[in-house]
Symmetry: D2
Subunit: 310 residues, 4 copies
């Protein structure tokens, strides 16, 4: 059995399949997230050795990274500080609880359970090297490296995150009370909210999953951008924690390590074969895009991409 | 970059590397598990297209399946009843808690979080079709199918499990109080203890991970033994829940979906490439073989088998 | 300010006040509890130095003790084994969770949080001295002593409890898995279900709270039946744990240490002044009689009995 | 049996009994609390109709209220806003967890479990009427009323609390994220830290428990300072939640509703009979004074003050 060849027609079918589902909505705890076309449903795939395919029901818009951005400090710190240092800051275990759970941080702490939870990403942001502008510069540098272009921060979303970010402040203060936060709470959260507020178009989202699928090499130039070691760790964390307490279901359905964001993006990796990005702003109570999961499941089945099965 | 060719010499090095670690011990809550050579440290690998390799520091012994046996009702019920029915009995999410946690069953229930936890496996045992002997026959049939040979139950371990199985009784009664157990508590637990008490030699353990790595086909005859669909789901569950609340760490270290047992066995899958079984009875507090994990990590690194990376 | 003199007229008003509330129902997890007149609403009060007063809207019926019976092993074991021994079996802290919570037993264990929770009462039943019939005899003896008459066990309720008692079995097995249960699970639960299934009329319920209010002396003969020390400990446990996770609200409303049962009985104590028993089978989700609490609050206010305030 | 007459000799014996215990230490999470004579061990008792007795092993010092101050917003808001309003802000149930638990606030919320926990007191501080200086004025007014003298804030302790108060910030932000905090997080915490940092001498601590024991009337002038209704509710909350997850043990040992503070003060009430204050800065892991509890237990036994038993 061989992988089928992917066609634009196929992506069109996948999108239309997903459009049948009308559940979910934009996340209400960051009001500014509602300022998008919430019916926008799109998929972009880069199979290695083939051309990039993108299908969207409506014109693409700039949408913020939200939690997909949690990969930036994870990868950047893995590259610069190494895994041993990173694992002193966060564990890499699914917590079984929702993305902003304080209970699990209190009970399973002191370290956050994993870097895909809010607590874990906040922890990592606090350990970005440097002071003040240097930390924001570091973030900018790594964003550029991992998305292969310069991203902007959406100031309305940033402001909306900041205005409604009390739960993240609670997490940050609990971490700070344990003396393990690397930067003060305010600057840490500004870094974290910045991370979440970078915005991109769907096709720009595709570079990162391709990089991870291609063992850290740029799919075009074959230049090693991030190390194989970093790719392995990142894929393992995405496979076990990428969609919070819905990761098991996601892996059963798709077999692709992935990372979701509450804005509606999900990026997924088929190791050695392809990078995938999907977008649909209607998310469920667990913070994952509903149509996004439908598209990834359909794609995985059509292409036999489940765990890179044959 | 290509996968290296595996040699017996390489397995010997892997075993000797692991022998440097002297942490852990046999699990004390099933006293009969101590009746093995606890220094026994062995690995068996079947790369497709090559011959099976086995290296052991000491003579192989019959060792019980323990939780590796949890794959039997999972796979058998997936095959006979289908995934939709199975997912009405158990969820497929890591719980973040230890294998016999009652708290998570009470809080995240009614259904057990996943079929690799005691609660989940007990639940599935209760839904094995038939009555009485038929259920034990079903277990025997599926064990034979998935291990490609007839396994025996170790009566001393069975009796030891039964004598010390109060925590599993507590889980079963909590499930029964919710009216969702398919068989009465006593017979369900006899099925569960039987499952755990099947015993095999290390090389017999290799058939199941090979089957999963080969998309459900017998690696020799290429006959389809279990469906691709069942393989996908099983791999996804192993990748997210196979080593309980140490699965994330295992995936970071090895990138191989796996299932551990408290007797010291761990089986691991490299999709499309190989099946692996390791054995060392010294387990840690989370119920996973310490030397087993060292061997799997070393093997994964030497072979570039992490997420089937190149 | 002096306590008012209580009259039958006053009790009648209290009952009629309570009858306005139609919330709650008999507990559905013990079906046989529904076999009572669920509108029965009654109160009995013995102020010291005055005659006993009883008012009921309907004829009194025999109703089972349910959790009010948890006082029997508590008091009997305090008397025979002393507080130091008792506190090795159970703690005396409110758990903040519901009466049959397993989570708190797992997390705050090994000992149950307090003897008013199911786990705590099961634990105490297992430590009743003797073997088999001797333990049931002990229970009979102490029931007779604390209710000043011979009570019968209602076999239908006993059987109903036993048939639906899986959650209590889960608790008992979790305790047994820790090696701290004094008797095997089966006999322990038979003792526990027996305890719950003793039945009395409302006026017979009054003897125990009077005994506790009178510092352990029979209110008529002034003979010391149980020690002052036992009274103190029992009152403190009732004041902090007597109505499970509604005890704080009960104490705010009434200021009377009390113990409720899911059959609808609540007994309450005004130290030095009076014993009270109320009955109404409509209970809330926390297992406490709704009209019972209304009656106790009204009585406490009318009589200035809150914390024996003046 | 009559209450014995209390003598200074008796208090001396009680203090010396307590001095045998050398466990515990000043709380390390507020460093400034260590700036006291930690061997200071003292008791003050006002039995109604007798003169106030104070015995101390060392000269009395000004010591901060810490959590004993949580009674101030509770009583003040009960008086000014009434119980119905108060119970919309906090529940009155013991949580079973420690005083600064975030888990229980997340799980049992949105409202804090009771006003004696940090979360509950922070919540009440946020609902002190007025804005800015008015709120601090309100606190000053009620402190003066309930301690019958003007107390000062210890600026070193206030600053120490503020510097190390991250866990309280986490609680406040979690409350704020639910939209139920009445004032912004910063000002709320300044009020809360102020409350904790008022300082008094032991004999000044005695006025409040006497007020509560005397049904809200000044023990000397007999003027009604706070209402009977407020006394009832406050006593009930002290009896069930006053020493956090050690309240049950405290009530078993003493039978006196009480409130502890991590600085070493505990105040206790014998309704209708006496007010008590004890001080010893060595506290246990639960934040309660170890010698303080020894003194209260001994006093209760000597005076038969357990639940105002005879």
């Amino acid at each position: 059995m061989k992988s089928n060849r992917l066609t634009l027609k196929c992506l069109e079918e996948i999108v239309h399949e997903a459009l049948n589902n009308h559940e979910g909505d934009t996340a209400n705890y960051i009001p500014e997230l509602a300022n998008v076309n919430k019916e926008l449903t799109a998929i972009a795939v880069q199979s290695f050795g083939e051309e990039m395919l993108v299908y969207s029901n409506d014109p693409l818009e700039l949408v913020t990274l939200q939690s997909t951005g949690k990969l930036i400090p994870l990868i950047g710190l893995l590259e610069e500080n190494g895994p041993d240092q990173l694992f002193e800051w966060v564990k890499v275990e699914p917590s079984g609880d929702e993305f902003s759970s304080i209970t699990r941080l209190e009970q399973l702490g002191p370290k956050p359970s994993n870097p895909m939870l809010n607590a874990g990403a906040i922890m990592l942001c606090s350990h970005i090297p440097g002071v003040g502008e240097q930390q924001f510069g570091w973030l900018q540098k790594w964003t550029q490296k991992l998305f292969n272009c310069r991203l902007s921060v959406n100031p309305l979303v940033f402001s909306s995150e900041k205005r409604t970010g009390d739960r993240n402040r609670a997490l940050a203060y609990l971490l700070h009370s344990r003396g393990i936060l690397g930067t003060n709470v305010y600057e840490t959260l500004d870094l974290y909210f910045t991370l979440c507020s970078y915005e991109t178009l769907l096709d720009q989202m595709l570079y990162l999953p391709c990089l991870l699928a291609n063992y850290g090499k740029d799919p075009v130039t074959d230049k090693q951008i991030i190390s194989m070691e970093t790719c392995k760790i990142t894929l393992a964390i995405m496979a076990t924690c990428g969609l919070y307490d819905e990761t098991g279901t996601h892996m059963v359905n798709t077999g692709m390590p992935a990372k979701s964001g509450v804005s509606g993006y999900t990026i997924a990796v088929v190791p050695g074969k392809a990078g995938v990005a999907v977008l649909s702003p209607r998310v469920n109570a667990k913070g994952n895009s509903i149509r996004g999961e439908i598209m990834l499941k359909s794609l995985s089945e059509r292409m036999n991409w489940h765990f890179a099965l044959p």
